[in-house]
C-alpha cells in the first residue's frame, strides 16, 4: 500500500495558478498579445472576451447551446445574482456540498474559466451606499449589502478560478468629492487585503483561486496609497488587475504591467473596444452584445473591415435590425460568411418572423450569432496586432463603419427587476409594455367571460388560458359577449411575471 514519496509529493504541489504570458508587446500604451492559461481550462488568447452572464447563464443561451454553439474561454459571474436570500437566509448556493459548487450549479463546462465579481457588469447603481465594511448589491429581490468578509468567504466556498477584488465605486453618482475618493482608495485596499488574507488561510487540499486587484476610476495620485501598498506587499498575491477606467491605463504602475487586464469599463461599440485594446487592454466582458441581441440587432461587422471599393461617403451599419420587414422574404444568413449556428442553419426571414411572433428562439439565434461575430472580431484584432497593422486597420474600421450600433426599433424580451435601474423619485412607468395592449381592460373581461376562464384561481386553471389563441382576437369586440365586469382582468398573468 505504500505510495512512493515522490508521487505523494506531486499531489501536494500547491495548486497551479493562473499564468499570463505576454506574446507580443510594443510599448506601454500599445496593443498587446497574450495568453491566459490555467490547468484544466482552455487557454484564452488576448485581446479577447469572456461571456457576461445573468444568473449563471449568458442570457438566452441555455447550457447545452453554450457547449455546442458558443466558443468562449471564460465567463464572468456576479455574486449578486446568487445571494438574494442574504441576510435572512443562507443563500442556497452555499449549501451545495460538491467540489466547485458554483461551476457545478450553473452547469459550466470544466474547461471554461470562471471569473467571479461582486456586481453585474455594468452594475445597476445601488441606493444603499457602501460603508467601510459593506458593499451595496442589487439582487433579484432588491437591494442589500454584503461585507467584505462575506465576499471573501463566498469566494472560498464557491471556488471560482478568478476573484475580482471588491472596488468601492459609488456607481451612479455624478460627481464624487475628493474626500469620497480618498475613502474609495482606503476601502478598496482594506477589502483587497481581506480577500488576500482569506486566500492565505486556505489549506492545500482546497481549490485555489487567483485574485484580480481593482484599479479605481480615479487619478493615480488619489489612489496612490492603495497602489503603493499594492506594490509593496500585495503584488505577489495578485494575478491580474480589473480596470474600471480604460483611459487611465497610462497611469498604471509599471510593476503591474505584466499582469492581465480585465476591463470593467463597458464599451458602447466595437470602436470603443478597439480604443481600449489600443491602450493595452487584454480581456473584456462585452455588455453591448446582449444589448444588441435584446434590441433584435444582429451584429454585422468584421475586423479588419473589408476594403472599400469606391469612395462613398456613407458608412456601413454595425448591425442589422432584424425587426425590419425587409427580411420577410430573405433566405440569406444574418451575416455573409458567418459560420455560427444561426447563420448556417437559419435565415433572416425566420429570425424576423420569430421576433415579430415574440418567440424566444429569435433572441436565442441572434445571441449566438452576436457572440460569434465578437469572437471573430477579436481573432481579427489579434491577427492584426500580430502582423503589426493594427493602427491602420482601426482607422480603416472607423472609416468603414458607422460609429454607433443601430437604434432599437422593436420590443425586447421582458425586462426583469434586476435588469433595470429603479429610481426612488423616477416616474412610475411600466418597464414592460402590456402583453396584449390592443385590448382594453374591458375587452379582456369580455373575452374572458366568453371563454369562461377564471384567471389566477389555481395554476391548473390559469394554464387553461390559451394565450396563443388570444393573439388573433384583436379588434373584434363589436360582437356581443356577455361581460362580467367583476372579473379583475388586470391580474391576468399570461407570462407569470413577478412583481415586487
Amino acid at each position: 500500500m505504500s505510495v512512493p514519496a515522490s508521487i505523494q509529493k506531486l499531489d501536494q504541489l500547491p495548486p497551479e495558478m493562473l499564468e499570463f504570458t505576454l506574446l507580443k508587446k510594443t510599448g506601454a500604451l500599445a496593443p498587446r498579445l497574450g495568453r491566459l492559461s490555467l490547468p484544466r481550462r482552455k487557454s484564452i488568447l488576448t485581446p479577447g472576451f469572456i461571456g457576461n452572464t445573468s444568473r449563471g447563464v449568458i442570457p438566452h443561451v441555455s447550457q447545452d447551446n453554450f457547449r455546442k454553439s458558443v466558443e468562449l474561454g471564460g465567463v464572468y459571474i456576479a455574486l449578486e445574482d446568487f445571494v438574494e436570500k442574504h441576510p435572512q437566509k443562507t443563500p442556497p448556493i452555499f449549501k451545495y456540498e460538491v467540489p466547485e459548487p458554483l461551476r457545478k450549479f450553473i452547469a459550466l463546462p470544466e474547461e471554461t474559466l470562471l471569473v467571479l465579481g461582486a456586481r453585474r457588469n455594468p452594475p445597476i447603481p445601488s441606493p444603499v451606499a457602501n460603508t467601510n465594511t459593506q458593499i451595496g448589491l442589487l439582487t433579484s429581490v432588491g437591494f442589500t449589502t454584503i461585507s467584505s468578509d462575506y465576499y471573501a468567504a463566498a469566494a472560498r466556498k464557491l471556488q471560482p478560478d478568478v476573484v475580482v477584488g471588491l472596488a468601492d465605486i459609488p456607481f451612479g453618482q455624478a460627481a464624487v468629492g475628493l474626500k469620497r475618493k480618498d475613502k474609495m482608495s482606503d476601502r478598496t485596499e482594506t477589502w483587497l487585503r481581506d480577500l488576500i488574507v482569506k486566500q492565505g488561510t486556505m489549506d492545500d487540499a482546497e481549490k485555489g483561486w487567483s485574485i484580480f486587484a481593482p484599479i479605481l476610476p480615479i487619478d493615480r495620485h488619489l489612489q496612490s496609497w492603495y497602489l503603493e501598498h499594492l506594490l509593496d506587499d500585495m503584488v505577489d498575491k495578485i494575478d491580474g488587475v480589473a480596470i474600471y477606467d480604460a483611459y487611465l491605463l497610462h497611469e498604471l504602475p509599471e510593476q503591474l504591467h505584466h499582469l492581465p487586464r480585465l476591463s470593467f469599463h463597458a464599451p458602447a461599440s466595437p470602436q470603443e473596444l478597439l480604443r481600449q485594446i489600443s491602450l493595452g487592454m487584454d480581456l473584456f466582458t462585452v455588455p453591448f452584445i446582449n444589448d444588441a441581441t435584446d434590441a433584435g440587432v444582429a451584429l454585422d461587422f468584421n475586423f479588419p473591415a473589408p476594403v472599400k471599393h469606391h469612395a462613398s461617403s456613407t458608412r456601413r451599419s454595425l448591425g442589422i435590425d432584424m425587426w425590419s420587414d425587409d427580411h420577410a422574404l430573405s433566405v440569406t444568413p444574418l451575416s455573409h460568411n458567418c459560420t455560427c449556428y444561426a447563420c448556417t442553419k437559419h435565415h433572416r426571414a425566420f429570425v424576423q418572423h420569430l421576433l415579430g411572433a415574440k418567440e424566444m428562439l429569435g433572441w436565442v439565434l441572434i445571441q449566438l450569432h452576436n457572440h460569434a461575430i465578437i469572437c471573430a472580431f477579436f481573432a481579427g484584432v489579434r491577427a492584426s496586432i500580430e502582423v503589426g497593422t493594427f493602427d491602420t486597420d482601426v482607422a480603416a474600421f472607423e472609416a468603414y463603419y458607422e460609429p454607433d450600433l443601430p437604434e432599437k426599433t422593436g420590443q425586447g424580451p421582458r425586462v426583469r427587476g434586476y435588469q433595470f435601474k429603479s429610481e426612488a423619485h423616477a416616474k412610475k412607468g411600466k418597464k414592460n409594455p402590456k402583453a396584449f395592449n390592443k385590448f382594453g381592460g374591458e375587452d379582456l373581461v369580455k373575452l374572458k367571460a366568453a371563454h369562461g376562464q377564471q384567471p389566477n384561481k389555481k395554476p391548473a386553471t390559469r394554464d387553461v388560458i390559451d394565450d396563443e389563441a388570444l393573439l388573433g382576437l384583436v379588434g373584434m369586440e363589436e360582437h356581443g359577449i356577455n361581460a362580467d365586469a367583476a372579473v379583475q382582468m388586470d391580474k391576468l398573468n399570461l407570462e407569470d411575471d413577478e412583481r415586487r
Binding site: R55, G56, V57, P59, H60, V61, S62, Q63, D64, N65, K85, P92, I93, K95, Y96, V98, F105, A107, S140, D325, A328, L329, V331, Y341, K345, H346, A349, F350, H353, L354, A357, E359, M360, L361, G362, W363, V364, R416, Y418, A450, H451, P459, D463, V464, D466, D467, E468, A469, L471, G472, L473, V474, G475, M476, H479, I481, E495, D496, D497, E498
Partner: protein, 433 residues
Amino acid sequence: MSSVIPRPIMAPASMPSALRFELLGKCSVTKARAATLHLPHGPVPLPIFMPVATQASLKGLTPAQLEDQGCRLCLNNTYHLYGLLQLPHAPLLTNGRGLKPGQATLDAVGGAHKLQAWPHNILTDSGGFQMVSLLKLAKVTEEGVRFLSPHDGSPMLLTPEHSISLQNSIGSDIIMQLDDVIATTSPDHARMKEAMERSVRWLDRCIQAHKYPDRQNLFCIIQGGLHLDMRRECTAQMVARDTPGIAIGGLSGGEEKDAYCSVVKACTELLPEKKPRYVMGVGYPEDLVVSVALGADMFDCVWPTRTARFGNAITSRGVLNIRNAVYSEDFGPIEKGCRCTCCRPTSEGGLGITRAYIYHVTAKETAGAHLLTMHNVHYQLNLMRLAREAILKDRYPHFVRDFFSKLYDGDQQKYPEWAVTALRGVGVDLHSD
C-alpha cells in the same frame, strides 16, 4: 337525415397516401397498439406525443435541441404561421377571393420545413381549432368560417379549400381537414349534428382541393360532440372516405373525462386497424396512458411546454412547481434517472442541472424556460416510448398499473375514478396488484 351528407363516389375510394402504417404489436388485453408510422420526413414510433411549435418554433428551443429530446414529429399551427408570415397591410383572405401573401412568403422560403430548418416531420392543423376560441366572434356558414382580420378588422373567410391550399404551401407531412368545431359541452343538439355533417362535407371539399396527396397526408377529423351515436355515424362517414389517417376532434374542451373516454372508445372500435388514430389536443400524462389503452396512437398538446414556462416540471410522480421555495436547496435532478439534456449527469454527456438551479433561473431568464421545456418534452416523448416498449412486450396493463402507482405514490384511493372506469372497460383493473 343522411341525405345531407353526400355518399362518397366510390366507397371506399382509394385515396393516395404518403404514409405507411406498420403495425408492430397489439396488447392482448387492452386496445393499445405499437406501430411505426413511415412519413415523408422519416419514420416515427407510435404511440407518439407531438409537441406544439405553434409559430414554427418550440418555445425557445432550436430545432437541434428539439431533435436532441428525441422528437421527430411536431406541430405547427396554420393559423399562426399564416397570420404572422403575411406582410403587413396585406389582407389575409379577402372576401373569399384568396389573396394569400402568407403563402407568398412560404413559397419564397420553400415551405415550413425550410422556414424553421426542421428536417423531420410536421403536422399542421387546419386553422379550425382557433375557431373554437373564436366561436362567439366568428360565424360558420356552409362556405367556411367568416371572421374579422386580426390585423385590420376586415372581414375574412376561411374555407376548406383555403385551409388545404395553405397547408399545401406549408408543406407539412400531415395536414388536417377544416372541420366545424364546436365545444363538446354545447347543449345544442341540432347545431352539433349540423357541425358533424358539415365536417363530413368539408372533408370532401378538402379531398378535392388537396394538391399533393402523394407527399402530404390528409387526416379527417371525427366530430359529433359527446353523442356516441353521432360520433359513430361520423366515424362511418369519415372512414368511407379513406384518408391516410384519422383524427378524433373536438375533445379536450373541458368535458367530463368519463365522456371523453367513451367517445374515444366508441370511435376507435369502428376504426380500421391499419390507420393511425390521432386524438387532438390531449396531453396530460394520465390522459395519454389511458387513451393509448383505448386504442389511440397520436396526441398533441401545448400544456407540457406552456406549463414549463410557469416553472412546472412533469415527472412520473406528478407535476412539480419548481418555483416553490422547497426546491431552492434541492440539488437533485428534476427527475432521477431522466435522460433529458438537463437531467442527465455530466458524466453521461448531460448538463446535470439541479432543481435548485431551475428554481434560480425560472421566470427570471429565458434559458430557465428552455431547460424545463426540454425536460417536459422529453418526459412526454419518453412516456410514449416506454408505453410502446411495454405494448411490444405485451405488458401494457402492467405498465399502466405501474404508471398510476408511481403517480399517486401507491395510494389507490387517489386514482381518478374516470381512469379506473375507462381502464376497466378495456380489461385492466387498476385496483388489483
